[in-house]
Structure formats: C-alpha cells, structure tokens
C-alpha cells in the first residue's frame, strides 16, 4: 500500500519553492523534518542523474530505510516533485 509522504518543488538553484505533506501517511512532527532532510540529501544524486538521461521522470533514485525518493525534472532543471513514498 503506497502512500505519498512529502512533496517538494525545488528551483534550479536548490531553493525549495513549495512543500506539502500529502497522502495518508502518519503525520508526526519529527517525521516532517526527517522527510525534508532525506529529500535535501537526495538533491546531489538528482543533479548527477539528470545529465545521464533525457527522460523527465526519474523513478526511485534513493532509498532510506523504507522510504523511497523519486523525482520529476523539467526542462529548466526545476525539480517538480521530490516524493517520498512508503513502500
């Protein structure tokens, strides 16, 4: 049963523009900070990966315990969603 936990839009200079906790995941305060931390740590991976493929949707680029990070990169390298999903 997958449920999205955290959704962030990041600009090309690694500045977060929008952020939301969505889905039916359990909402606890310390979880929110952990999610943000995981997503920011994944930014480096995305930058390297973005140059290897011309696809826009990069599935499952990083894992942390049972959380999976996936991202959609637009043409201007705006990371349209970095999504954390419980698998």
């Amino acid at each position: 049963m997958t449920s999205t936990a955290c959704f962030i839009i990041v600009s090309r200079n690694d500045i977060p523009i929008y952020e939301a906790e969505v889905g039916s995941a359990a909402k606890r305060a310390e979880d929110a900070q952990l999610h943000q931390f995981i997503l920011h740590a994944a930014l480096d991976i995305v930058q390297d990966l973005a140059w290897t493929t011309s696809a826009m949707f990069l599935k499952a680029i990083d894992r942390f315990n049972d959380l999976v990070v996936s991202v959609y990169v637009t043409a201007g390298h705006i990371l349209l969603h970095i999504e954390l999903t419980f698998i």
């Binding site: 973005a50 140059w51 290897t52 011309s54 696809a55 826009m56 637009t74 043409a75 201007g76 705006i78």
Partner: protein, 194 residues
C-alpha cells in the same frame, strides 16, 4: 449548443492536452512593440553596450519560459542533455515557434572548440530597424541573443551569446550571426559524458 463540433470531453482536467495557443501573431503589432521597447531603453541608457545588455536581458526572460513550454508541448517531455541536442533544439524548434521558420544555418566555430554560430539572412526583429551610422556596431539582434542565452542557461548550458552583422557578397543587407560561446564547465561535462 450551436456549432459545438466534435470536442473530446475529458473527465479529468489534468488529462486535457495543453492548448496550442495562437499560432500567428501580427507582424506589425510585434514590430511596433519591439520598436517601442528599443526606444524606451534608448532613453534610459547612455551608451550602446548598456542598451545591448538591456535588450539581452529582455530576451533572457523570454528564453527561460520558451524552453519549459516547448519541451512540454513539442518535445513530449524529453529533456536535452547533450550539447548538439540543445543546439539543434534552438536552431529548429525554438526558431520555428518564434519566427515561423528554422534558422538558416548552424555552424561550429573553427578557431575555438566552444564557439557555435546560428546565422539568419534576415532576422525578424531587425526587419524594420535601421541603425544610424553613429551607433557603430549596435545590433538589435541582441534581443534574440538574449532569448538563446535564456534557453541555454535554463537547460544547464551557460554561455555568452552575442549578435553580429556579417556582410556577405551578393546580399544587400548583411547577414546576422548569433555567436554562442559556451562556458568551460559545459565542455568538461560534454567530455565526461563522452
């Protein structure tokens, strides 16, 4: 409803394709707007290089937006990661959408590895512009150079882009060349990607 025609009904608004927008814009409307843009900037600056820089900045904003729009609308969500890919994207797709035709030619510079040139016999923005002698080498194609720079910068290929007049035998008006000089990191990344 009168004249409803056959419109496919989408149950979910997210599944509707992006509208193509108006394909054609009046040339005279654009010419008036552009001449007003140039005249307004002329009153604000003291020298030519400042005027060129302002036109370039105006074009930069256009380029950044055009990149996102075209990649989504015309290229079916595929990004450009290679140098030749982004150059041919600018040369054909961007030119076709902005000016109604592909650019005349795309050439690689011979002296330097990082220089490329897009040439156009009759640049649309220069069609109704005449430059007085005392302005020297000023070229309103700086606006188009700004558009190209916006597209390249947005896609992750930082470059210095300038517009030049190149006189050609057999042609009354000189040809306009957009000179693109890529930053060092672009070449290094290209070499690394092999």
């Amino acid at each position: 409803m009168i004249g409803a025609g056959k419109i496919k009904q989408y149950s979910n608004i997210l599944e509707k394709p992006l509208s193509k927008g108006k394909q054609e814009v009046s040339l005279s409307a654009f010419a008036f707007l552009f001449s007003e843009l140039v005249q307004y900037n002329q009153t604000q600056v003291d020298n030519i290089s400042e005027l060129e820089r302002r036109l370039e900045d105006a074009g930069y904003a256009v380029g950044a937006r055009v990149l996102e729009l075209l990649c989504h609308r015309d290229k079916g969500n595929r990004r450009e990661t290679r140098l030749l890919g982004i150059l041919s994207f600018v040369h054909s797709t961007v030119w076709k959408v902005l000016f109604g035709k592909v650019a005349d030619s795309l050439e690689k510079g011979t002296e330097h590895e990082d220089e490329y040139m897009i040439s156009e016999k009759d640049l649309l923005v220069n069609k109704f512009i005449s430059v007085p002698k005392d302005m020297g080498t000023f070229n309103c194609g700086a606006f188009v150079a700004g558009i190209v720079r916006g597209v390249l910068d947005g896609a992750g290929f930082p470059a210095v882009v300038t517009a030049h007049f190149v006189p050609m035998e057999g042609l009354q008006r000189p040809r306009t060349t957009i000179l693109i000089k890529f930053a060092e990191e672009v070449l290094q990344r290209e070499a690394r990607l092999g």
